[in-house]
């Protein structure tokens, strides 16, 4: 009786002990001719673990990418939630449990997540260099070719680029400050009207100020230097201390994320929001989240630009399908759609002058949208990322010492 009741509970556990042979790894698939990779991928499902926090990104994936993958390659794309450290955790646990066949075949990653995954050998590869569309990638760009100073080394394939920008309402603040120094003056003159979030974007803003206050990004380039960091942090935190009484809620509270920033900005509690995507001032205004008169602002001291990538886990059940998806994401068609302000407005990783003229013209018409920050302005003030350790330390120290 007991055995009858318990058997169905235990059976799956026992069955999982009898392991099937592991699926071919990404590096193995990368050695095959592309045609046979595509053939292997046909009729399969690709589970893509990604950040699902933005409805416009989700809509692009679910309603534009997925149907095309199904029509062109017979691939069913399943986007599931998971980002940053959760990915590292999940794969670590899968490895501890001896799962040679994992759950996800594709991951959306960059920076410190890529670093952590590589350090623990949780990524498959190298594979990204064999994608046919990889020929179009802008390898000259320091933003695309280095991921927080790390060499992607074929373990991740670039997907998009973004640059940090402040967002202001031109109707409310017709003459916004253009440098960090002017911004500090403005904050003191308008107490309670400025803050930053405590998530990734806020720390990225502080990191760009860390560069600006300490002789530029060069001070921190070339790996983590504890002495340079501590000296830089002292200057940055001195500025933050002097600004604190003039921040929203006198600096005793900080919004949890960018969505909370947008809400405070739209409701008129603060005068600046921010985003890790230079075009979000336009996309969020089009969606009615923030006022229609919102504009992006790139401080002349420089703002941080970075690229984001897709990687394949060491135990991906469907590495072939994942590679076909990664290749599709690099096609001019998919890159252009992603960059449209009405879709997501995520920057391309392609070298535009390598594209056929008709594609180039289409990209130009999107990039030269008058509501966006001009491309050459963005380029002029773009600063690369430094070792992810700086971001880790700054986040940790800010949480413990400032917040």
């Amino acid at each position: 009786m007991v055995a009858l009741l318990v058997a169905p509970l235990v059976a799956p556990l026992l069955a999982s002990c009898a392991k099937p042979p592991p699926p071919p790894a990404a590096a193995t698939i990368a050695g095959m001719p592309w045609d046979s990779v595509v053939a292997r991928a046909r009729g399969t499902t690709v589970v893509w673990r990604m950040w699902r926090g933005d409805p416009s990104v989700n809509a692009f994936i679910d309603r534009w990418v997925a149907p095309r993958l199904l029509a062109q390659y017979g691939i069913t794309l399943q986007a599931v939630n998971g980002q940053g450290n959760e990915l590292v955790d999940q794969l670590t646990v899968e490895r501890e449990a001896g799962a040679t066949t994992g759950t996800a075949s594709l991951l959306w990653i960059n920076g410190e997540t890529f670093g952590a995954l590589r350090a623990r050998s949780l990524l498959g590869g190298p594979w990204s260099q064999v994608l046919p569309a990889a020929e179009l990638v802008d390898r000259e760009s320091p933003i695309v070719s280095r991921d927080f100073e790390q060499d992607p080394a074929g373990y991740e394939s670039p997907w998009g680029t973004v640059q940090l920008a402040l967002i202001y309402d031109a109707a409310r603040t017709p003459n916004p400050p253009r440098t960090l120094e002017d911004l500090a003056v403005w904050i003191r003159a308008h107490p309670g009207r400025f803050t930053h979030d405590q998530g990734f974007t806020g720390i990225t803003l502080l990191k760009s100020w860390l560069y600006a206050l300490n002789g530029g990004v060069g001070t921190f380039a070339g790996g983590f230097d504890s002495t340079a960091y501590v000296a830089g942090r002292t200057r940055l935190f001195a500025l933050l201390d002097s600004l604190e009484p003039s921040l929203w809620r006198q600096g005793t509270q900080y919004p949890s994320d960018v969505a909370a920033m947008h809400r405070l900005f739209a409701n008129g509690e603060i005068d600046f929001s921010m985003s890790n995507n230079q075009n979000e001032a336009v996309t969020k205004a089009m969606q009615g989240v923030i006022p229609a008169t919102s504009r992006a602002l790139v401080l002349r001291d420089g703002t941080i630009a970075n690229a984001h990538y897709v990687g394949i886990p060491f135990n991906a059940p469907n590495a072939a399908g994942a590679m076909v998806v990664a290749n599709f994401l690099l096609t001019p068609e998919a890159q252009l759609e992603k960059q449209r302000p009405g879709v997501w407005a995520d920057g391309t990783v392609l070298r535009l002058d390598a594209l056929p003229p008709e594609w180039r013209a289409r990209f130009d018409s999107v990039v030269n949208d008058p509501r966006l920050v001009p491309a050459d302005t963005l380029r002029a003030f773009a600063r690369p990322e430094v070792s992810p350790r700086y971001h880790e330390r700054l986040q940790d120290d800010w949480r413990r010492l400032v917040r």
Partner: protein, 317 residues
Amino acid sequence: MSACRTTGAGSCADVAPRRLPAHHPELVIPATATATASATATAARYRAVPLLLAGILLGLPIVAGVGYSVAGAMGWVGTAAPGGLQRVLADVHVLRAVVLSLWIATMGTAGATAGALLLAVLFDGNARLDRLARTIGSLPLPVPNVAAAVAILLLLTQSGWLSRLAVQVHLIASPSQFPALVYDPVGVGIIVAVIWKELPFLVLVALSLQSLRGSSLTAAARTLGATRWQATSRITLPLLLRGMAPSIVAVFVFVLGSLELPLVLAPSSPLPLPLLIQERRQALDAASHGEAYVIALIATGMALLAAVVHEWLRDDA
């Protein structure tokens, strides 16, 4: 045994001695004369199966979870670095998180309990107003926690509905003068949300207790000369509180560990326990991950302590 077979399993259970929990030995109801020793043994075996199943289904995950947390805290599994325990015990942020979470859970549970008692005592009749009040009291039950949190956000922030109303009627000159009730260090917004969300659950418990108990005790007290207030404070309230105690503890423990309301409404400093656990668990620096397990174990200990205190008070009563 044969008598059991012929009359069906239901009556078998009926003839088994029905024991109330061990601390009420005087209340053991003797088995009827028809019961035999073998029937008792069969019944015991029937009860052993669900007990074993419950043990496996409920106990195993808890043991596994606590075991993994301990291993994670020590840095034996997962991504954590060792030394988490020492760091957590010396961390003032953890202490502040414990205090804030206890404060929110205590105030939220106390508020919801008081509201439920008030509703059950004042509106226990059959008049239309009574029924209306009870319906309103149980209305928020199906509202998801996240929706409740967003509703509080729209209502109570400095740019919220109440703030704008206060400006309209010239109570304050500008929305920024409205008191900071959300993202505030004492958690007013979360406490209001907790009360609103947990009230209906306790109202339903209180009302079902009321209807089970009937009004005979109160009526007897009134006949013997007790005032209405005396009958309420000496009979109704103590009986209700006693009956509601397990539910009150359940609410307290749930609020202590629930993530949704703090996620939307909590201050950034201090952080409530669930958010602090999440933050340390997701920190970029892997050294913090072990701290998350230690804090999770502290939170589990607090919940267990609440259950133990409840058992202890029950034994005392």
